[in-house]
C-alpha cells in the first residue's frame, strides 16, 4: 500500500520565522486529510510545497510516488489546486476560464468546451457561464475556481481553505461537491480553520500549530484522546453561577470555565455527574441546563494548543471584495 501524499520533515523559514518546523504527513489513496489549524500555523506553506509552488528548506515530499522537487512536472499533471483566493481570470467568462485550462492541458478546442460545459453544469454555474467572472458572487467564484482545478481530472486535489469567507449556504454546497469528489476516488488534502468542516469532511485530521503537527487521528480519536467528555451546568438563577463553579471545581480535577451563564468543564470520569447533581440539590440550586456530552473539536483544539482555533470574523467581508 503506498500513500497518495507523503511528506517527511518539511521545514520552511521566512527570515527568522519558521513557517514549517519539521512536518510529516501521509494521506492514503482515496482518503481526505483535514489539516486543521489557526491562521499562520503553516497550512498554506505545506500545501504550496506539496503543489510544487514552493521549495522547502529541508525535508522531502512526494505525490503518488513522484518527488515534488525532482519530478515536479509529473506531480503537476496529477494534482489540482484550489487556493485561498479564487484564482480565476476576472476578465474572462466562466466558460473561457475553463476552456483556457483545458487548452493548456492539451485538450482540443471541442474537448475543452465540452469539459467546461459539463463542469459548469455540475457546479451549478451553467446559466452564468457566459458572463465575465468579475460579475460572479464570492460563492460562484469559488465554485468556478474549484471547477478549474478539476479540468485535468486530478487524482490528488489540494483545497486550501476552500470555504474561508463563504456564507453558510455556499459552504454547505461546497461540502457537497467535495463529498462527490471523494465518491469518485480522488485523494484530497483540505486545510481549514473551521473545526466543523474538518469534522464533517475529513477521514483523518492533523492539527497544525506554529508550523508543527501537534496531533493526528480521526475526529473521534482526537476527541477521545484529549478532552474525554464535557459537562455543562447552567443555573436557573444567574447569581448562583459562581457557586455552581465552586461546586464543580470541588468535584472535578480540571479547572472549570465560566462563560455565557454556564459552567463548562472537561471530565474524564462520567460518575461525577450524579455527585454534582446531589451536591447542587443539597445547596438548593436548580439547573436549567445540565448536560454531559462528547467534547467538540473546538475543545480538543483548546486542550492541544492552549488557545482556541479562531473563527475568522472578518472573513465574511471578503466575499465581495
Amino acid at each position: 500500500m503506498r500513500y497518495a501524499i507523503e511528506a517527511e520533515g518539511l521545514v520552511k523559514r521566512y527570515g527568522e520565522t519558521k513557517a514549517l518546523d519539521g512536518v510529516d504527513l501521509v494521506v492514503p489513496p482515496g482518503r481526505l486529510l483535514g489539516v486543521l489549524g489557526p491562521n499562520g500555523a503553516g497550512k498554506t506553506t505545506a500545501v504550496r510545497i506539496l503543489a510544487t509552488l514552493l521549495v522547502p528548506d529541508s525535508g522531502r515530499a512526494s505525490v503518488l510516488g513522484f518527488d515534488v522537487g525532482r519530478q515536479s512536472h509529473q506531480v503537476r499533471s496529477l494534482i489540482g489546486l484550489t487556493g485561498q483566493y479564487a484564482a480565476v481570470d476576472e476578465m474572462l467568462t466562466g466558460v473561457e476560464n475553463l476552456v483556457m485550462i483545458g487548452r493548456l492541458l492539451g485538450l482540443s478546442r471541442r474537448e475543452s468546451r465540452e469539459q467546461a460545459m459539463s463542469l459548469l453544469e455540475r457546479f451549478d454555474l451553467a446559466a452564468a457561464g457566459g458572463r465575465a467572472a468579475k460579475t460572479f458572487s464570492g460563492g460562484m467564484r469559488r465554485r468556478l475556481d474549484l471547477a478549474a482545478s478539476l479540468v485535468g481530472r486530478p487524482q490528488v486535489l489540494f483545497l486550501d481553505e476552500p470555504t474561508t469567507g463563504l456564507d453558510p449556504r455556499s459552504r454547505t454546497e461546497l461540502w457537497g461537491v467535495v463529498r462527490g469528489l471523494m465518491a469518485d476516488g480522488v485523494t484530497v488534502l483540505l486545510t481549514t480553520q473551521y473545526l466543523e468542516e474538518a469534522d464533517q469532511l475529513a477521514d483523518d485530521i492533523v492539527v497544525f500549530d506554529h508550523g508543527k503537527v501537534i496531533a493526528s487521528g480521526t475526529s473521534d480519536e482526537l476527541k477521545a484522546t484529549t478532552g474525554g467528555q464535557v459537562l455543562e451546568v447552567r443555573p436557573l438563577e444567574a447569581h448562583q453561577l459562581e457557586l455552581v463553579g465552586k461546586v464543580v471545581a470541588e468535584l472535578v480535577a480540571d479547572r472549570p470555565e465560566t462563560s455565557g451563564g454556564k459552567v463548562t468543564v472537561a471530565v474524564h470520569d462520567p460518575t461525577v455527574m450524579p455527585a454534582i447533581v446531589r451536591r447542587l440539590d443539597d445547596l438548593g440550586i436548580v439547573a436549567s441546563e445540565l448536560a454531559l456530552r462528547k467534547s467538540s473539536l473546538d475543545e480538543v483544539f483548546l486542550a492541544l494548543t492552549g488557545h482556541r482555533a479562531e473563527e475568522p470574523a472578518k472573513a465574511e467581508e471578503e466575499i465581495f471584495s
Binding site: R2, L53, L64, G65, R76, L78, G83, V88, R103, L104
Partner: protein, 268 residues
C-alpha cells in the same frame, strides 16, 4: 515510512517544444479575448493621450504652433510615443494582477512550460501595442493628421515603437513581479513616465525650454524616440535618433533582462 510496490505511471517528464508554443498561444489568447468583450479596454491607458490630443490640439495648438492643424502634425507622433511607453507597463499591471489574484499560482501548478505565462502575456501586449497604435493614428487622421512619408514610414514607426516596447517589457516584468499591488504599478507609471514625456520633444519643441531643461531634454531617450517617430511619419531626420533609440533599447535589455529573469526564476 512506506514501501512503493506499484510501478509509477509513465508520465512525460517535461513539456515538448510544440506544446510550449501551443500553451504560449493559449495564454496570449487569454489576454486578447478581453478585446472581444470590451474593445475600448485598450484605451484605458490611452485616455490620457487622447485627452491631450484633443486639449492640446484645440486649446494650446494655435498658441504653440500657430494653428491647430500644424500642432496636430507635430504632436501626434509624440503622443504615439507617450502611449507606447505607458502601455509597456500594462505587462507589469497584468502580471501583478495575476500574482495578487492567485492566477499566477494556478498557472504554475499546471503541467505547462514555465515560460508560457510570461511569453504569452508579452505576445498579447505586443499585439495590443499595435492595436492601440492603429487606434490613435486612426483617430488622429480623422482629426486631420496626414502621414507624409507613406506606408513604409508608418510601418517603420510601428516597428521602432514595438522594438522599444519589447525592450522595456523586461523592466515591466521586473516591476510586475516586485510591486505589491497593481495600483502601485499604475502609480509608478504616472510618476515616472509623465515627467519623462513632458520634458522631451514629444509634445512641444524644446527650443523654448530654459537651458538646464534643454540640456536634459537633449539626453532624454523620449526625445530621440519622438524625433525618430516624427521623422518616420511626417519626414525629417530619422537615422541618428532611431539609432540612439535602439541603443537605449539594447541598454534596457542588458540591464533589466537578467534582473527580471532572476526574480522570475526565484518565483517559479
Amino acid at each position: 515510512m512506506t514501501a512503493i510496490t506499484t510501478p509509477l505511471p509513465a508520465l512525460p517528464r517535461r513539456v515538448s517544444p510544440g506544446a510550449t508554443v501551443r500553451q504560449t498561444l493559449t495564454l496570449a489568447w487569454r489576454s486578447l479575448v478581453q478585446i472581444k468583450h470590451n474593445p475600448w479596454e485598450l484605451l484605458d491607458l490611452s485616455i490620457q493621450p487622447i485627452m491631450f490630443l484633443l486639449l492640446f490640439t484645440y486649446v494650446f495648438g494655435g498658441a504653440i504652433s500657430g494653428s491647430t492643424g500644424d500642432y496636430l502634425q507635430f504632436a501626434l507622433p509624440g503622443l504615439l510615443v507617450q502611449n507606447a511607453l505607458f502601455y509597456t507597463l500594462s505587462t507589469a499591471i497584468g502580471l501583478n494582477t495575476d500574482i495578487t489574484k492567485g492566477v499566477f499560482d494556478r498557472l504554475r501548478s499546471l503541467p505547462i512550460a514555465r515560460t508560457a505565462p510570461l511569453a504569452g502575456r508579452i505576445i498579447a501586449d505586443t499585439f495590443k501595442q499595435v492595436w492601440a497604435f492603429a487606434l490613435l493614428v486612426g483617430f488622429g487622421m480623422v482629426l486631420g493628421f496626414r502621414i507624409s512619408t507613406g506606408v513604409a514610414g508608418l510601418l517603420g514607426a510601428l516597428a521602432l515603437l514595438v522594438i522599444v516596447a519589447l525592450a522595456m517589457s523586461w523592466m515591466s516584468v521586473l516591476i510586475g513581479l516586485k510591486a505589491s499591488s497593481p495600483e502601485k504599478v499604475q502609480m509608478i507609471a504616472f510618476s515616472v513616465m509623465m515627467p519623462l514625456t513632458f520634458t522631451s520633444s514629444a509634445l512641444v519643441s524644446p527650443d523654448t525650454f530654459p537651458g538646464w531643461l534643454r540640456a536634459w531634454s537633449d539626453v532624454n531617450p523620449v526625445t530621440h524616440l519622438s524625433d525618430a517617430i516624427r521623422g518616420l511619419l511626417i519626414g525629417g531626420e530619422v537615422a541618428g535618433s532611431a539609432m540612439i533609440s535602439l541603443l537605449w533599447s539594447a541598454g534596457f535589455v542588458v540591464v533589466f533582462a537578467p534582473l527580471a529573469i532572476r526574480v522570475f526564476r526565484s518565483r517559479v
